[in-house]
């Protein structure tokens, strides 16, 4: 069963010459019970896509089916089936965390008698119990985001659509969110659609990922398959203590291939060449200039760049 079947989804923002094609003929299938990610840089059209999935934006063209039903014919479907986390939280900002969670639970139809238990369970699960009585606006950015995640998760919907749930979270809170999502997926078969521009998040929690670039889906598969499909290359990162000797043939070869950021070089090479180059660097004259290096198998960032992605604002940590 498909939670979402999206076909030809197109949406333009603005009119005339300043208009932007935010989503361009997007086709996607999100299976029931999977953690589906939408990865892309800022401005790729991720938020436009999920706002359409929630019925908050009307597509210019294309259809969105939810469990086999067109959401245009049943506009209340997304609100009934889905827990949604948007980017803005002004509606909740002045509410104490516990009240925000409890009232959201009531609005999702949790019986009055069960609200307290449901609320306390989710606050505990996400580590928010200590700040339960504080208004969201008085929390740190990360805790505030976490409280919003709690409101999206409460009330156990069969689908969760989360727009960058872990932005601004510290690593402990981020893992708490990932754990909470996986528990729901594993125990109740919750479908999760998750926007991210964090490569680590994409590789850690997603079953499948759609890579978005300028409103188009440039790839959609499991993170492993995507990495395997684009390239067998490895990434060699070099950090130089000072300018490397330009007359060294290995340095000259790498300099021609590298993308540089100050004295940091990133070179994509086949594994054998990378190993040889690194061997020569670390035994030759260039060693004195070399401060640090790492050799890594492809990440989803490499997939994104290899597929023609142009932006550099994907997060790695």
């Amino acid at each position: 069963m498909l939670s979402y079947a999206v076909r030809g989804l197109t949406r333009r923002h603005g009119v005339g010459e300043h208009s932007v094609l935010a989503n361009d003929r997007i086709d996607l299938d999100v299976r029931q019970g999977e953690v589906f990610g939408v990865l892309g840089p800022n401005g790729a059209g991720k938020t436009t896509l999920v706002r359409q999935l929630m019925g908050l934006l009307r597509p210019d063209a294309g259809t969105i089916m939810m469990f086999g039903r067109d959401i245009r014919a049943a506009p209340d479907l997304p609100a009934r089936l889905t827990g949604y986390l948007g980017q803005d939280d002004l509606a909740l900002a002045e509410l104490p965390v516990a009240t925000a969670v409890a009232t959201t639970a009531r609005m999702r139809g949790v019986p009055r008698a069960a609200v307290r238990e449901v609320r306390d369970a989710i606050l505990d699960e996400l580590g928010l119990t200590a700040v339960a009585d504080r208004p969201l606006a008085r929390l740190s950015g990360g805790q505030r985001r976490l409280a919003c995640v709690a409101t999206a998760l409460v009330g156990d919907r069969p689908v969760l659509v989360l727009d960058e749930p872990t932005t601004g979270l510290d690593p402990v809170a981020r893992r708490a969110v990932w754990g909470a999502l996986q528990r729901r997926r594993d125990t109740t078969g919750t479908t999760i659609v998750l926007i991210t521009h964090n490569v680590l998040e994409a590789e850690s929690v997603l079953d499948r990922v759609a890579v978005l670039e300028s409103g188009r889906v440039i790839a959609c598969d499991t993170p492993g398959q995507l990495k395997a499909s684009v390239s067998g290359d490895v990434r060699l990162d070099l950090a130089w203590r000072h300018e490397p000797p330009a007359d060294d043939p290995t340095v000259a070869m790498l300099a021609g291939l590298a993308t540089t950021n100050g004295r940091r070089w990133t070179v994509r090479l086949d594994p054998a060449t990378a190993r040889e180059a690194l061997g020569r660097l670390t035994t030759g004259a260039a060693l004195a200039a070399l401060d640090d290096f790492s050799l890594a198998t492809p990440s989803l960032e490499d997939v994104y760049l290899t597929l023609g992605g142009a932006s550099r604002d994907l997060e790695r940590t």
Binding site: L81, M107, P158, G189, L295, T297
Partner: protein, 300 residues
């Protein structure tokens, strides 16, 4: 697989590089810094989920009301005083000008000042609130919950009204004492405040939701409040022709008239009922328009 050197010992580095990269290195759980377990297989084929019901109006209203009431009470208690002081100030000011023996005019001044407290909250504050929610894109929160939009408007209005209600009682009682009016009919305050509240809250929400910028919502709300003030407090027979027409069009005038009747010795109940019915009808219409506007503005 990531190899990061700890030491600059070339032989150690090279020996670390010896093994061929695994054909599927990314399936190695040790490959990344994450300790989160890799995704488990997708659960066996699931049937379509049980469709959650839409939340009934009463439950949604209660939840919105309770949530809004919890919003920093500290910030809103001063508003309560501002709303009342404004009306009490007008009462005191006009006491020096008006002929107190003219109970019709006196009753209208007191009723107008009382409804002004409602207008301050329902028109002015609600327009500001919905204007700010729209500008921040925060309406998404409500629109993605399975609740009727009217519950959002009414629940928010009711929470503001809770802070305004004592102000209306204080204004009406103080006005009656200042102008030597009977207070036996003051129970009418309850339906008047309730119905004019729904009416003006609906209008306030529509104004706030339709304003393209939050500053415009604020200006429009304050302008609306000023109109309610002038047309409500100035006795109808002293208004010019155009003013009387505007007064007839303004729904809050009917609330003022109904409450003004309570201060008169012989109450024309049929007229009071008609006035309240007009308020109720406009209130329901305004609320319906606000609910449609909320959905339309939030889902562009």
């Amino acid at each position: 697989m990531t190899i990061v050197p700890d030491a600059r010992d070339a032989s150690a580095i090279l020996s670390a590089l010896q093994p061929e990269p695994s054909p599927e290195p990314f399936l190695d759980p040790s490959s990344g810094p994450s300790t989160v377990p890799l995704p488990l297989p997708i659960p066996a084929r699931l049937g379509p989920p049980k469709m959650p019901l839409a939340t009934p109006f009463g439950t949604a209203f209660g939840a919105v009301y309770r949530g809004q009431l919890a919003r920093s009470k500290v910030g809103r208690i001063p508003l309560l005083f501002v709303a009342s002081f404004q009306s009490i100030g007008i009462l005191v000011l006009l006491r020096g000008i008006l002929d107190v023996d003219n109970t019709t005019a006196a009753g209208q001044v007191v009723a107008g000042s009382t409804v002004l407290v409602v207008a301050f909250v329902a028109l002015n504050l609600l327009a500001q609130r919905f204007g700010a929610l729209r500008a921040a894109g925060a309406l998404d929160y409500y629109l993605t919950l399975p609740i009727p939009p009217a519950a959002v408007v009414l629940g928010t209005a009711a929470s503001y009204a809770t802070f305004a209600a004592p102000g209306t009682v204080i204004t009406a009682v103080l006005g009656a004492l200042l102008y030597n009016l009977p207070i036996t009919g003051l129970w009418l305050l309850l339906p008047v405040v309730l119905l004019s509240g729904v009416c003006l809250a609906g209008l306030g929400a529509v104004v706030g939701l339709l304003a393209p910028r939050p500053e415009l919502a604020t200006i429009a709300g304050q302008l609306g409040m000023s109109i309610v003030l002038f047309l409500g407090v100035i006795p109808a027979d002293r208004l010019p022709e155009i003013g009387r027409f505007a007064r007839d069009v303004l729904p809050s005038s009917y609330a003022v008239d109904a409450l003004a009747a309570a201060f008169q010795p012989g109450v024309d109940w049929s007229k009071v009922v008609i006035d309240l019915a007009v308020c109720a009808a406009v209130g329901i219409a305004a609320l319906a328009v606000a609910a449609v506007t909320l959905r339309r503005v939030g889902t562009s």
